[in-house]
Symmetry: C2
Amino acid sequence: MSIWKRFSEKEVSHSMAHYLQAVAALKTDKGHARVGDIAEHLGVSKSGVTSMMRALQTRGLVTHERYGCVELTGAGQRLAQRTESSRRVLTTFLSEILGVDEGIASEDACMIEHLVSPEVSVELLRLTSFLRSQHPVAAQFREAYRTSPRSCSEHAPGACDLCGATCLRESLVREIGESEVGA
Amino acid sequence: MSIWKRFSEKEVSHSMAHYLQAVAALKTDKGHARVGDIAEHLGVSKSGVTSMMRALQTRGLVTHERYGCVELTGAGQRLAQRTESSRRVLTTFLSEILGVDEGIASEDACMIEHLVSPEVSVELLRLTSFLRSQHPVAAQFREAYRTSPRSCSEHAPGACDLCGATCLRESLVREIGESEVGA
DNA sequence: GCCGATAGTTAAGGTGCCTCAACAGTCTTG
DNA sequence: CAAGACTGTTGAGGCACCTTAACTATCGGC
């Protein structure tokens, strides 16, 4: 009766995913990832990093010996890369296709990158590539979409079956303020 | 240096969002939400519910007096409704537009529903409505998209700037198994 | 080769969210 | 209206993740 709890059963947690990414990023940028670098990169204390490294080592995602550098294992590398891919796809989709403000796009992407299944990421990549492509239909889409209705009241009748009883848009827009999204 | 930590600064946590939704759902279905109902609905212990209700009451999202029913406050209701809207939009987008398996679609939606910003939800709703609509361009899209390339190697040259150095699709597909997503 | 600066670790403590076990309030029914 | 059946609460405890404070290892310069 509860998909929601599997949240905590993910192979790695939100935190872990970000630690892995940090290690990967530092390795790329500086050639090595040390506890202090990771701490600074993520804005956490060094002791927090130490204990997280222990946890990740237990899971076989990194290797780390006392006072040494941190290395990603194969599994850790794959995980970091997958999260990174997911984030890239999401950010692009949100900002370029949906047209959401870049700041919000990357913030949202950062929140959910490690939670979307690879299945979804792959399809999102496909859609994004398609809609950005030279394909004539994609070009038509971009043109037509720019001017398509924004609010439910402008939908063609029946187009709003998504909404059901209450207009989804209304309940969402209340959070933002009409001005932001155009009447 | 860390958007990621705001994860924990969300107005409500993943858990809280689901408790609120449970209360709303039970109120609709049964006319009232009691501790035991909520516990069963979410698959958690009753004591867990009790303490979460205390937390939500402190935040002004529900009212609950000892041994009584739980009621959503205005704020709680708005939050529950917004989460619900977000989930509906997400699920529809993932399954109908992206064509992801329904099980996965609702699982993913459940994971991220409370994390996506209203800005993104609103735009996602707009895109989904548009692509499902009778609009001629939408119809063309559906036709063209069905047969559009799935893997990077099939992209038109330059279409893959999204991928950058490594093909995003490759790193994602590894997680699923080629068969699932078509060559 | 010792000393201080820097980097890293451990220990103790806090919060969120969950559990189980024990207790307390409420309801049903004879 | 009391006994037993439910329903709900409290308390103790656990795990994940974070912090600060105090300690320890390592390294560069004299």
